[in-house]
Each structure stands twice: as structure tokens, then as C-alpha cells.
């Protein structure tokens, strides 16, 4: 109670208040993921389709660069070889694997909703043919809320409108070619 009179007598002028408001840092969105070798920045919360033979190697080079990130790997049948991941300098403790076909979309949504992962990776083949746009929009909302960049691994170019970025890496160590960039 002894502090109350002090608070009551402390009146700020409008200029002082403006100065205080100005001093508060503006809430800027978190910066995207930089890919140093190629001067490329991938936004957080984007849906990115990766094409080409060099896509996996490129992806893991990026995971290695951002060493403190967490990765969810969702596949109907696991094709990734975890010792190869460790060999590329990525700690396996950063990765959670979900191997399911029957509950793929549910598991993917739960993974994004958890807001735990900076990256999620999944094949593009399981995106439903019906209601694709609605499905992808839902994923994008979840990804944006969580700040998770969702990568779709693809063999061939897909016609999905909801995917915000499309990148092709044709060979190991190759330069990524941006085929689509929806925002900016």
C-alpha cells in the first residue's frame, strides 16, 4: 500500500508517454531461414515443394546450417537413412519420425499444431486429390501459426496452387532454382 501514493503522483506528459511507446520494439516477424551458399531466404510458415535429385542433400545442408532447429519427418514408409543424417552432422536428437499412411494428414496436422518443430518434411504424393486447396490452406494456417516451414518432397512438378514456394535442385551440391515464390 505504501507504493500507491507514489504511483498516483507520478504523472507523465504526453511527450514522455510517446517516448515510452516509441521505445517499445515493434513486433517484427521472425526472419526466414537463410541458405548461405545461395543467398536464399525461406520464410517461416511457408509450404515449400522441393524437386530434383539434389533436394535431400540440399535440405540437410540447410538443417546443418541451422543447428538448433527441430525437424519432424513424416512419411508413409520411411526411406530416410538415419545414419546418413548423423553422418552429415545433424544430431538425431533433433528429429522426430512419424511413419504412417492411414493417419498421415492427421499426424502432420498434429505435428504442426504442437509448434515444436522449425521444419517438417513429408512427401507430396499423399495430398488428397479432392479438396486439395482447402487441405493445403489448413496446413498453411497451422504452419504459419507454428512458424514451421513445411517441405514437400516431390519427384515431379505438381499443380497445387496452395504451395507457396517451389524449388528445384537438380543435382547434389547444385544451385536451387526458384520455380515459384508466392509471397515477395
Amino acid at each position: 500500500m505504501q507504493y500507491l501514493p507514489e504511483i498516483a503522483t507520478k504523472r507523465l506528459t504526453v511527450d514522455e508517454l510517446r517516448a515510452k511507446v516509441g521505445a517499445i520494439t515493434r513486433l517484427e516477424p521472425l526472419p526466414g531461414w537463410e541458405v548461405p551458399e545461395h543467398e536464399l531466404v525461406l520464410p517461416r510458415g511457408a509450404l515449400v515443394e522441393l524437386l530434383g535429385h539434389g533436394s535431400r542433400e540440399w535440405l540437410f545442408r540447410m538443417f546443418q546450417t541451422h543447428a538448433k532447429t527441430r525437424i519432424a519427418w513424416v512419411e508413409p514408409k520411411l526411406t530416410l537413412f538415419p545414419p546418413a543424417v548423423a553422418q552429415r552432422g545433424i544430431s538425431l536428437s533433433r528429429m522426430l519420425f512419424v511413419e504412417t499412411k492411414r493417419e498421415w494428414n492427421w499426424a502432420l496436422a498434429q505435428t504442426l499444431r504442437s509448434k515444436l518443430f522449425h521444419f517438417a518434411v513429408t512427401p507430396v504424393d499423399l495430398i488428397p486429390a479432392k479438396g486439395t486447396d482447402v487441405f493445403l490452406r489448413k496446413l498453411q494456417i497451422q504452419a504459419e501459426r507454428a512458424g514451421t516451414t513445411l517441405f514437400f518432397l516431390s519427384d515431379a512438378d505438381t499443380p497445387f496452387f496452395g504451395i507457396t514456394h517451389r524449388i528445384r535442385i537438380d543435382r547434389e551440391g547444385g544451385r536451387p532454382e526458384i520455380l515459384k515464390r508466392k509471397r515477395g
Binding site: R56, F60, A86, F97, E99, Q110
Partner: protein, 467 residues
Amino acid sequence: MSHRHSSGEQPPPPVSRAPLYFCISFRSPEADVGGVAEACLRFSPDLTVRRGERPAVFLEASRCLSLFSEGMLEMRLKVLLREWKFLEMDYRIARASSLPRAWLCAVEGIPEKMIDRAPIAGISALLDPLDERPEDARKIGAMIEMLFMLGVRRLGALRKYPPDSAVSRFGELYSRLLARLNEDHVTEDFPWERFRPTEKFIERIDLDPDECFSDLEPTLFYSKTLLDRILKRAFGRGKAIIALELRIECERRRNRRELFIRIPVRFTFAQTEAAMVLRTLREKLAHEFGRRELDAPIAALELEVVELSPRRSLQSDFVDQDQATEGFRELVTELGTKLEIGREIFQAELVETWRPEWSWRRVLKEPTAIPVLTQPIPERPLTLLNPPEPLRRLGRYFFHGDSRYAIESFTHVERLSGEWWENDGGFTRTYYRVRLRSPADESREFWIFREQGRGGVAGGIFLHGIF
């Protein structure tokens, strides 16, 4: 008579007793080992339990021999077991100078001096008495099989084999086996965790007869009240819930209640949040209510925590701003409602083995418990085909199905072989990193191996991975 030491005389050193282990092994997997172990604490605090298919209680009794003789202690154990309604045929009591030897004696029903006559299969009892090393089971099985093929039928026959060659053949497991087999030099090389009795948290609601119900939602509503109380008690003690059981009692006849549903719930990670526990409980209850109808109104609900664990994140959440640890447990619990934990949801842990497809295993641990790699790994492809797919070679081409690939270059030749003790007789492979040009004129590197045929396994060239 009192004995007094002179001022210059040193007091006698404390008498170190030779260890003496009692093992009570039960035939039934459902035996209440926890209860028996708790009662055995009156004899000695040094005891541990084995759970699983063959439960057992191990009691290190050397320190209580000044109170009881060995025979007297055994008799007292039998009296105690009678209280649990165990007949003499339901259990065996064995005593030996070490825990593994006591377990072997209990399993085989022999006194310690006859260990040499135990069958060779007793190796697994000596090497993994508490059933805590599943990773060794395959190696132990292969060792037993190999020794059997060499004509060894009894444990005593192992003494005839020169230890050096056997150790070089079977590795560290064999030297551990010899150490445990040797009665003259019994070494306490077997670490075991001291048994601690489980604390019981039980909350109960007896319902007013006028408010009786038999639906899911009110059951959940009252369960939530019980759950909140249990979690608050656990939180206060710095504990989290691993397993709990909800019991529903119905009033079938006037003034007579019967246990109708018993719902056990086990979590992979310790739970502290009511919302997460309730979600799992709802799924289980909905399944039970969907399976059968209650033929009488619910009279009482009882919630018991069966297993608790220390609440590790009690303080760490203050600094863990993104609550990642807690969030990870919640996610796994959530995914576990539809997917199989450990098989469909997992982390990867490296295993020290030469065969590439066996060089990792599925685990589910706290992320910090996954060991960080310290040894370098040779170059491996990011995509592995399991099982490897056969290729045909003709001149400068590989044929995979109907597709033809032109060979551009071979590099990184690596020869891997070993694991001859496995059932398939091991493997000998020569791996190549091969750059191939596909029919669509795309060049790509593949991981291909050549394996010689042996036994019933066909050899040939196989595609194992894609870089």
C-alpha cells in the same frame, strides 16, 4: 565380556561378509512381486525385483545373517509367501553368492554347487538375470547356439575351453560369463537398482444414489475431478504420472457394489497436464462404453496412480521458454492415441553394427537422452532401400527392372563383412558408389553392393541406396 583396546592398538577392521543372495522366483507372471518385495524389506533393504514373464525378488542377505541363519531366513520367507497365498509349487527359493548365480539356481532348481551341471541355455540367466538388456539377447542366443553346435551341453564344460580363443570369438560377453561362472572368485560385477516401494495415490468418489448415471460424459466429468486432485498431489510431491487405473463400480443389487470396468492407462512419457491425460482417458472410456452397455448405474469412481516418476521439468520450465520438453511429451501422447508409439512414432538411435540396415534402431526417449555422435561415420546415402533391390549387369549397363542405366563411374569402394554369429551366417559385401545415367539422361549416384551367394541366400548385385 567387554574387550578394551590399548591406546596404541588399532581397532579391528570391519568384517566384510561374503555376499549371499536369496532369489524367490515365481512361476506366474501376475505374481505380486511388488508386495512381496515390500514385505521382504523387513529382512534387508538390499533387494531388487525382476519383472516380466518370470518375476522374481532378489534379497542380498549377508547383512542380516547376524539376526537369522540362512535356513531360518528361508523358512521365514516361506511363511511370508504363504500370506500371499502362494503354494510351494508357485515359487522357488534359491541362494547363491551372486545375483546372476542365484537367478540361475532358481531357474534350474539346483543348489549353487551344481551350477556346472546346469544346461548351456543357462548362459542367458547368468548374463541377463534381470531381463534388462534386450540388446544382448540376440548375441546371447547366437552364443548358446554356437556352443551347442560345438558340443557344449553343460555350463561346466565351458571350463575346458581355452578362454583366450573363446573370448576372441564371443567377445566381452564371454569374459563376463566366465567371471560369473567362477565360484572361487565371485565378483560383484552386476549392478542392480535397489527396489523402492511404489507410492499409491488413490482418489475416490462415492456417488449419491439419487445422482446415479451410466453415460460417458458424466463419468468423464467426475473423472476430471479425481484427476485434478491426483495431479495436484503429484505436483506437490514433484512427481508426474506414468500409469494410472480408473475403476468404475456399479450398484447391481441394493447395497452391493461390484467392480464393473477397470481401465488401465499407461503413458510413454510422464504426464503432468490434466487436459492430456483426460484426452487419453476419454478415448479409452469411449471405447469401453461403446463395447458394452452398463446394466446398472455407476455408484463409485476410483482413480489410482499405478506408477509415478520424478517430475524432471519442475524447475526447468522457468528457463525453457518454448516449453519444448513438455510439448514433446504432449505431442507424443497425442500422436499415441492413434499411432503406435515406438513403431510409428519414434526417434532414431545409432547401433554399433556393420550391417548398414541394422545400424540404427527405433527408440522413443526424451530428446536429450539420444546420445550425440562422437565417432565419424563413413559416407552413407540419405535414401536407403530396405530390402535391397536386385540389379543385373551387362557390360557397361545395369538393369533395374526394365530400365537400363549406363555406368559412368565407380568410387568409394568399401568392403563390409561380419556378424557370422547371426542366424543368416553373416554377410560379406563390397559397396560401390556408382554414378549412373538413367534412360531420361539424368546422372545420379547410387549405393550398390556385390554379395557372394552362401547357404540358401542368393548372391548378386543389389541397389541399396540413393545419394
